[in-house]
Chain length 209, copies 2
């Protein structure tokens, strides 16, 4: 037996977007009673809701996110409780806790402000020194329950993406993973010719007997 | 060690869509050299490319696909070689081969016509009797390398969706699974308030030592 924990925010009409981004539109185009089927249309930028950034977002790269190997977006996860830290720094115990090739998730609890102006205005950031530590660990992905792990001029984005470490933003429910001994993170991007992609991010927990 | 096989078609500007559907648009809105970052905008109906149909597509239901439990969209997969059959019928060996709760994939090879008019015009269909057999097996999903497992008035869609068996359409690469002893299918829909969803479908193969 296993459990799946959903780590994704909802995609809907007028969902929150990063300040300055075009709004996300989601509307019904066909109705069962009129057309014989229901259908919807989604019009969104590649950074709305729970999404993955790839190097092309901020660096010179012609490799679309949908062309990257799927192995990069699935693997053993590790959640770190970093609540209460305006600047998230590395601590000694991470050396043992974070395994090479894992997906590291930072649980800040800031997702409680999702949908409010504070969510984008006053969010915690990752110390670039911590980002450099993660480069050394050759992690696959860094996931956060934040709109971004940094602010302009985005030093953490550039460090991670420059080393092909993908960034998973606007996660939620990370607190539910704190007591989980081991899980796989699954966050496949769409097979899309774009810099970044909306994703359904989830933790797959293998229950021990 | 494990391998991942991608089963998805590419999402791009002017990709093929079901006849009569609105076209999919994908265009760059922001450029690194001008805006400091690259970003794209996707405008698509919920049935373009590789996607999952949920009951709301053809039946009276108010449950959006993004609200359904993720456990429904991951699990042991089973690929059946049904090439050369204009009407895909059940055969005796399926009784033993198809396990309850699995995701059944039908390899027709018809995806070689993807992007051509023949793809939508002359595709194989699933015999409703076979669909009834799959209901009895309580499978999770039926996946096809076709635009649809049936044609108007969509008897197979209605049988499967009416029993909460999801339909995965426009798959590709299914032939690569024929020699694989066992795999998990992963096809998470976006967490979207819509009837159906674009997905990245993949097979996760656990290599035996």
């Amino acid at each position: 037996m296993e459990r799946i924990i959903d780590l994704s925010q909802t995609i809907e009409e007028n969902m929150p977007v990063y300040p300055g981004d075009l709004r996300t539109e989601l509307f019904q185009t066909h109705y069962l009673g009129v057309h014989g089927y229901n259908s919807y249309r989604l019009q969104t930028n590649s950074h709305a809701g729970t999404h993955l950034d790839s190097p092309m977002h901020l660096l010179t790269s012609r490799e679309f996110i949908g062309e990257l190997p799927l192995q990069s977006f699935i693997g053993e996860g590790c959640v770190l409780d970093v609540r209460g830290q305006p600047v998230i720094k590395t601590v000694a115990e991470y050396e043992a806790r974070i395994k090479e090739g894992s997906a590291v998730l930072l649980y800040t609890g800031h997702d409680r402000f999702y949908g409010m102006p504070e969510y984008y205005r006053d969010h915690p950031v990752v110390d670039p020194e911590f980002a450099r530590f993660l480069l050394g660990k050759k992690i696959k992905m860094l996931g956060v329950d934040l709109p971004s792990p940094d602010k302009y001029p985005f030093p953490v984005h550039k460090l991670l993406l420059g080393n092909k470490i993908f960034i998973l933003e606007n996660l939620t429910n990370l607190g539910r993973l704190l007591d989980v001994p081991s899980f796989d993170l699954i966050a496949f991007p769409l097979k899309i010719k774009a810099d970044s992609s909306l994703v359904r991010a989830a933790a797959r927990i293998h229950c021990r007997k």
